[in-house]
Symmetry: C2
Subunit: 518 residues, 2 copies
Amino acid sequence: MKQRGLIPRKVKGFRDIDPALNEQRNRLVQVASKVYRSYGFEHWDSPILEYAECLGKYLPDQDTADEGVYSFRNPELEPILDMKGNGLRDSSNNVLMDNHLLSLRYDLTAPLARKYAEELWTGSGQTKSPTLFRRYQYGPVYRFEAKLDPGRYREFWQMDFDTVGSSDVASDAEACCILSDTLEALGLARGSYEIRVNTRNLHKGLFEKLGISDEGVARDVLRVIDKYDKIGEAGIAAELGEGRVDPLSKAKIPGLGMPLDQVQTLVNYVQSCIGVQGRENVLARLAPLLGDTPTGRFGLDELQRIHEILNGLDYLDNRVVFDPSIARGLAYYTGPVFEAVSKLEYRDASGKVRGFGAICGGGRYDGLVEKLLGIKVPATGASIGVDRLLELLRQTQQLEIAATGPVLILVMDQQYMLEYQKFAKELRQAGIAAEVYYGQKSKMKAQMSYADQRQAPVVVIAGGNEFEQGTVSVKDLRRGKELSDQITDRSQWLSDKPAQMEVPRADLVATVKGMLSD
Amino acid sequence: MKQRGLIPRKVKGFRDIDPALNEQRNRLVQVASKVYRSYGFEHWDSPILEYAECLGKYLPDQDTADEGVYSFRNPELEPILDMKGNGLRDSSNNVLMDNHLLSLRYDLTAPLARKYAEELWTGSGQTKSPTLFRRYQYGPVYRFEAKLDPGRYREFWQMDFDTVGSSDVASDAEACCILSDTLEALGLARGSYEIRVNTRNLHKGLFEKLGISDEGVARDVLRVIDKYDKIGEAGIAAELGEGRVDPLSKAKIPGLGMPLDQVQTLVNYVQSCIGVQGRENVLARLAPLLGDTPTGRFGLDELQRIHEILNGLDYLDNRVVFDPSIARGLAYYTGPVFEAVSKLEYRDASGKVRGFGAICGGGRYDGLVEKLLGIKVPATGASIGVDRLLELLRQTQQLEIAATGPVLILVMDQQYMLEYQKFAKELRQAGIAAEVYYGQKSKMKAQMSYADQRQAPVVVIAGGNEFEQGTVSVKDLRRGKELSDQITDRSQWLSDKPAQMEVPRADLVATVKGMLSD
């Protein structure tokens, strides 16, 4: 049993990132950063570790506390502080000490709220006046999901931008423009993706109309409505009411037991809003249904304002749509919510056609800072699922993978090591990545196999003969590969050494350059 | 006491990274990546979390286990595995489950060893044959140092490159070239820094000669020798022997109690190697002293080989020096070791002149993979202390801080919001970062104060008058700042509005461009 410590392995749900993925991720982050900066957002970064208390208990996509967060005891004793930040004392006047719980950040928004609240915190019970703060951030976040779907990880990257301190719905409209700009800057064709927008106030208005104030019931209702694509209108009516029997599995699915008039209102709502083309049409269909509740009216006005700005800036229905079925995190978002989805599909390993789901999401969250500061601070923003978007770009061949290794200088004889180093140095000075072979297996075959594995485009070969004659041999591996696919006579091939040239030592760099530019 | 959770704060020893530092860090990482790639290294990344067992117990800069590492229980039950990777079973044939300890990575080398070992691991007791692996990596590492010096953090960045699978000392010489190239690519002038090289084999030879095999004693000896700069030859002789009284504090410093002949050999060693200029001179001085021990001879040959390659490639004494006083991690490094130091100094806040210490370090570690795999795999590499190097560049004014915010479009009247958005869009399309003011404080003063805080170079102002006349007002804040430093007549200033122009709406972009290019 002691042996197990000797098994080298990654923690379950974690992974190493290879050079191709690193390059793609860097490119994505740089392209998106440029868009964010053009809108005036600044790049801030925050620690991976935070006090669990400061991260707060609401996860962005679920309403349960703690679950899914990596937390552990702080190894450091720290004073327990009062509201003014002073250490609390016991009857002997000693400062009380405690270990706090530390958490790995589960998103980039909770640390933003902590940072923002920290800036306004005075310790005197009063807080400084809220300021406008616009920042973007990217990096890994951590979720301990007990059940891990294939292709999902517990460490993954997000890239967020947020405007804190603004209640202006224009900043929500702007967030949709930024998402659209970013996806297009990354190469997604217009029409191949969709930014879907809703506002939580429409749902609140709906529940006002229904007289439902219980959040649990509201959540159950939205969950049923969300099944529209799968079970249709009749299925929804049944699951809201008395329940139904699944025609395939014959399983009995219990209903929510809602009265008939409530069920009818909800079915009307679903009929009004699902599958309706055009933002103006969606607004026109919803107005008679929700315009008579104060919150519903407010929500309609939000969408109307967003629509006017988007239209004026030329973000039309082929980029941003209204979709009143979108709910997102109920306890988290307070106003407009949005998500970006790709309409593209791909075939997985088993040949099954699959979609990608949401690759970005966001919305208005006016309550997040309140928990830390006691005052409401309006905020809106969005998050790109970096790894999910990379997967989309990769699966739909929208990402070029540049896979060229360095020129490899073979080591034919250790006594010429300094000369090999000089070859490499000259190539580097000409802007060509070059590496001397340092492996322990010195046979030609092992060296060529390493060149292959590293995707070296060219190898440089020089032994006693070459040094005597003042030459080097240069082999074009890419050309060699092409030619070898065509050969018929193997012995001819071996004696001809096609794609290999012996040139004067002084022509090394020019020869390699020529081969690389072919 | 419940209140403390409401105090927004960072975990002690952690920090937020501001836009200027993010930009500088990105630039550093990109410049260094380019150098590393030119030598054929590939960019790999690894998780922040690892099994504590797989990270191993040796820290790079200290020899004690566990201390300084953030570790916690894995929240997931996992099977206990045997050497073949199969779950061990109890008498009822149930797979035994256990929680393992997880750790935040404390450097980038231990995860590299884990990854490399994982590739060769077969589970059958045999391992695959070692391959050559050259990768670079950068990112945060975590150290729980109980005592935290000012300006130090528990989360900081490293940037490493390593060659695993080569015993060739040429790859150690190459590491020194790479460090030198990188520092110069980052703007450090030749002569302002020094790569210091030694090999652990010289110290091993020295202890062979002295007949000292106890590692603890060896460590104590090296610790005394390291004080040469402070206490001189006599002080060293005393601390190796009977001890001494500190002349300032009058404190009694106990000696190691070594016999006189050992003390004499060590003093000779120190005399031979400290402060000697020129790599060849250092070798000539050490040869008679250590050349008669097998390990000392081996170490001298290593340095001789490194010297030949460096000389042949033009890395002379003004870039790389031999310094036999360098020890670094005793239990960790097995051959050549190197570190880069800046010779520059700066004045701290209190006016005291200070140096920077080592900004990069590395060496050969042939034992690291063995612990995980049971076979020795030779390896060498180096690590740049990214944050320490940034501090150096900043303190010595070798880093330009680009601090220009976006052009700010003031919101004079909400009814024109769409028009303001159009201004911003046009500016962005011309490659100019632009932001519409979304703050809740709508007064002119608050908006201008935000422009100031964001370091906006230009603000765009348009209210009812401007829209009526088809114009916009554009104010050059940088020029305004210059002029306001010269004003004598404030009322004149207010009526003239210097550095502000009212131009036709169509000239907005050209006007802003003109102001930015001044």
